[in-house]
Amino acid sequence: MPSERRGGDAAVYAAPVALAVSLKGITKRFPGVVANDNITFDVEEGTIHALVGENGAGKSTLMKILYGMQQADEGTMTVNGTPVHFRSPTDAIAAGIGMVHQHFQLASNFTVLENIILGMEPGRGTIDFDGAREKLVKLEEAYGLDVDPDAYVSELAVGEKQRIEILKVLYRGARILILDEPTAVLVPQEVTELFENLRHLKAEGVTIIFINHKLDEVLALADRITVIRRGRTIDTVDPNDVTTKDLAELMVGSELPTPSIEARDIPDERVLEVVGLGLKATEGRDRLTDVSFYVRRGEIVGIAGVEGNGQLELLETIIGMRTQTSGTVTLNGENIDGWTTAERLDKGMGYIPEDRHTHGLLLPAPLWENAMLGHQRTPPYGNGFLINPKGAREKTQEIVDKYDVRTVGVEVAALALSGGNQQKLLFGREMEAKPDLLIAAQPTRGIDVGAQAAIWGQLREARSAGMGVLLASADFEELLGLSDRLYVIFEGRLVAELDPKAVTPEVLGKHMTGAEV
C-alpha cells in the first residue's frame, strides 16, 4: 500500500479508499480560548496517521473529542462511514476506537491478564481466566505483541507496560488506536520496538492515530501527517514529500519569526550565575548534571528543551523549591545556596511557574489573594506579620487595569478567569514586584493568541527595564523571537548554547531531541 501513496496526491488512487475516521469542522471552545477551530481531516483505514503540533496547539483536545471524553461544540465525526456522536469513552469503545494514554493506567500489583480484563471480567460470578488467557494469547500472536500474561505489572519495563495498554484496547475490540505521545516515556530501543509493533498492527489492518511532536519519529513511522497550529488544521502531508524543516515550519508558521531586537550591547552585569549545578534523584538518572550558565541584566536567556529533560527541576532549584546536590547559585553576586524560597522571592526573584493552576494560583480564592501570593511578606501586601487586605485590593486593581486582566473586580475567584487572564494577572504580580531576575516557565502555554502577544510584550518590557529574564519554553517561536541567548537542555545537561538569530528550528529541534550533540 505505501507504494501507491508515493504520488502524494489523493487524485492518483484508482479505487476510493475506506476512511476509518473523518473529521469535519470540529470546533471546541473553552472560556477565552478556542482549542479547536474548524479542524478537518481524514484518516484512511489501515494506515498510521500522525498528528503533530506544538504544545497547546490543540492535539490533546481533539483526541479527547474523538475518544468521547469531551464533546465538540461544532462539526461532525464519521467513523467507518457512519456519523457518530460520542457522549463518553464507552460510546467510542463501542465504535471500535481505543486510546492509549501517555500516562499508563495499570494496577501494578495485578498481573498482565488481570489488568487486561479489569472492568470487563468474563464469566458469571467467577472470572473465566482460562477463556480470557486464551483470547489474550491469540491477540498477542496475531499482532506480534509479546507480554507474559502472568507477569506482575510492577516487574515490567516501561515498553512492556505500553504493550499492555495497547493489548487492553485491542482486547476491547478496538480497530482504531489513538496513541497520545507514546514515545515520550520510552528509551530509544523501546521506541524502535514500539514502531515495529505499530507497523505489525498496521499490517493486520488496524488504523493508528499517533500524536507526537518529535518530527524525525513522525517521518519514520507515519503514512500521513496532519499538522495543527493554534487549534487549526494547517495541512495534511505525505512524509515522503517533506523534511523535518518543512514540518517545523508548518508547526510554527510559514514564516519563522525574526528576532525582534537588534544585537545589543548587554553590559556584563550578571544577575544570576549558576555553576556546576547537579540534582540527584532518589532513583533513576540524575535530574541535573553539571549545569552552568548565567543571566545578565537586561537580557532574556532561553532554555529550550523537550518537556521532562530537567528544565522544571532547574528552575525549581534556582527558586529554592529543590536543593541541589552539587554546585552553586549566585544572585547579584551573592551566594544564595542556603536561602529559602521566601528569601529568594523577597530579595529579587520573580517566578512564573509552568503549571499556573497548581503552582501559581489559589483557584478558589479571590484575585487579590492571588495577587499577593509570593509577595505576602512585603508591602503593599503585608509587613511580615499582618497582611493588608486594603492595600492588596488596591494593588490588585492596579494590576488588573495596567495588565488588562479582564474581570469585573478583584473579589472574583481566580478560577472564573480564562487562562490568558489568569496568566496576565500572574505576570502583573511578578512584574510589579520589580525583581532583578524573572523566571518564566512555559509562560504562554495553553492561552489565547491575544494574551500571548501581551505576555511577549511584557517579557520584552521586563528586559528593557533592566531585569534579567530566564525563559524556559518548548515553543520555538517564543524562544527564537524573544531570547538574546539560548541554551538547550537535554537529559539534565545543557548540551548547546546557540545564537537565536542564527539558529534554525531544525537545528534547534535536533539539539532538543539529542540527535545532534
Binding site: P31, G32, I319, M321, T340, T341, A342, E343, R344, L345, D346, Y351, P353, T358, H359, G360, L361, L362, L363, P364, A365, E369, M372, L373, G374, Q376, R377, G382, G384, F385, L386, I387, P389, R406, T407, V408, V412, A413, L415, A416, L417, S418
Partner: protein, 379 residues
C-alpha cells in the same frame, strides 16, 4: 449576582442541611408511631421558649451555652487543621489528657485566683499542643499520615490516662465510690459564674450557672478569625490548604506550617475540657465528659471551618443535646437526636459542595457575560 442569589450562596446549604435533619428524623419518628410535630415542639419548648410557662427558658439557654463552649473549642481545633488540609482526628485524646494533667498540676498549689486560672489554662494548652505535636513531628520527620497517627495517639492517650489516673493521680478517698475522682482544684482555681451579670439584666437563671469561660470562647473565636484572615501566618495557612504546591512556590515552608498548625490545633483542644474543670466539677473523674473531640469535627464541618460558623454549629449541637432531654419526658427514644445530627452532618457536606459548585458557575457566567459586554463596548 443578585441579592437573592448571594443570600442563597451563604444560607442555602445550612438551611438545606437543617431541613434534611428534620426530614430524616421525622421519618424515623413516624416509623415508631410518634408525632414529629409533638417531638420537635417539646424540644423547642424545653430548650428555648415556652409561651405557657413563662417564656424564654433561661436555664436551658445557659445549659446550651455551657455545652456550646467546649464544642466550639473542639470545632476550632479541628477547623484549623482542616483549613490547611490537615486532619487532626486526635482532638479527643488531646483534650482529655490536657484536662487530667491540668487538674493534677493545678491542684498542687494555690495562688491569686486569676493567676491560678491562667496557669491552668496555659498548662492545658501546652499539654494539648505537645500531644498533637507528636503527630506533627511524625508527619514532618517521617511522613506519617496524621489521620493514622492522631487516631493511634487517641488510644495511647486513653490508656495513659487510665494508668496515671487509677495508679497515681486519683484521690484515695474516692476509691470504692461510684465515681472515682482526682483531688479537686482549690477554690482559687474556680471560675465565678456570670449569673450576677444575668441577674443585673433581670434574667432569672434559676439553678443554672453560666460559665464565664463563655467570654474566653468569644475572645478565642475572634482571635481565630483575626489570625486566619489578617495575619500572614493565617494567609500562609489558608494558601497551604488551597494548594500546597502554590503555597510552597510562594515561599511558605510546608513542614513548619504543618508543625505550627498541629501545635495550635492541640492548644485549642486543650481548652475543651476547661469549662468542666474550672466551672463545673473542678476535678477529673471517671465520668468526665467525653466525645467533645469527635463532635468537634462535625462542628468544624458544619461551621465551614470558620469561627462564626463553628459558633453557630456549636450552639445547634448544644441545643440538640439539651432539647433531646425533653424527648425523655415525652417517652420518645433520645436516639432520634443521633439520627438528626447524623443526617444534618451528611446533608451539610453534600449541600455545601452543591451550593459551592453552583456559586462558582454563577460567578464564571457573570464574569464572562460582563467581559463580553465590555469588549463589545470597546469594539
Amino acid at each position: 449576582m443578585s441579592l437573592g442569589k448571594r443570600l442563597f450562596a451563604v444560607l442555602g446549604a445550612p438551611v438545606m442541611a437543617l431541613v434534611a435533619g428534620l426530614l430524616f428524623s421525622s421519618i424515623a419518628l413516624l416509623l415508631i408511631d410518634e408525632s414529629p410535630t409533638n417531638a420537635f415542639s417539646a424540644m423547642w419548648q424545653y430548650g428555648v421558649y415556652n409561651g405557657d410557662t413563662g417564656g424564654i427558658q433561661w436555664a436551658s439557654i445557659i445549659e446550651i451555652l455551657n455545652q456550646a463552649v467546649p464544642l466550639f473549642f473542639a470545632g476550632l481545633a479541628a477547623a484549623i487543621g482542616f483549613r490547611m488540609g490537615l486532619f487532626n482526628i486526635g482532638v479527643e485524646g488531646q483534650y482529655l489528657i490536657s484536662a487530667l494533667v491540668a487538674v493534677y498540676l493545678g491542684a498542687k498549689f494555690s495562688v491569686w485566683a486569676p493567676i491560678h486560672v491562667l496557669i491552668i489554662l496555659v498548662i492545658a494548652m501546652l499539654t494539648g499542643a505537645a500531644w498533637a505535636g507528636i503527630a506533627g513531628l511524625l508527619k514532618v520527620k517521617r511522613n506519617v499520615n496524621e489521620v493514622i497517627s492522631t487516631i493511634m495517639l487517641n488510644y495511647i492517650a486513653f490508656n495513659l490516662i487510665s494508668w496515671l489516673f487509677f495508679n497515681y493521680w486519683r484521690d484515695e478517698r474516692s476509691v470504692g465510690a461510684l465515681n472515682i475522682v482526682t483531688t479537686p482544684l482549690p477554690e482559687t482555681a474556680w471560675l465565678p459564674s456570670l449569673n450576677p451579670v444575668l441577674e443585673a439584666f433581670g434574667v432569672n437563671p434559676r439553678r443554672a450557672e453560666l460559665s464565664s469561660l463563655v467570654i474566653l470562647a468569644v475572645i478565642v473565636g475572634f482571635a481565630f478569625w483575626f489570625m486566619l484572615n489578617r495575619t500572614q501566618f493565617g494567609y500562609d495557612l489558608r494558601a497551604s490548604g488551597t494548594s500546597a504546591p502554590a503555597a510552597q512556590a510562594s515561599g511558605v515552608k510546608a513542614k513548619a506550617m504543618i508543625l505550627r498548625a498541629m501545635l495550635i490545633s492541640g492548644g485549642l483542644a486543650g481548652l475543651v475540657g476547661m469549662l468542666t474543670i474550672l466551672s463545673e466539677t473542678h476535678q477529673y473523674a471517671t465520668d468526665f465528659p467525653k466525645n467533645y473531640g469527635f463532635d468537634g469535627i462535625a462542628v468544624a464541618l458544619i461551621g465551614r471551618n470558620s469561627a462564626g460558623g463553628a459558633a453557630l454549629a456549636a450552639l445547634l449541637f448544644g441545643f440538640l443535646r439539651r432539647g433531646g432531654q425533653a424527648l425523655l419526658s415525652e417517652q420518645i427514644p433520645v436516639e432520634i437526636i443521633n439520627i438528626m445530627t447524623g443526617s444534618i452532618i451528611l446533608a451539610a457536606v453534600i449541600a455545601f459542595a452543591m451550593v459551592n459548585r453552583w456559586a462558582q458557575n454563577e460567578e464564571t457566567k457573570a464574569l464572562s457575560a460582563a467581559v463580553e459586554a465590555k469588549e463589545l463596548e470597546t469594539a
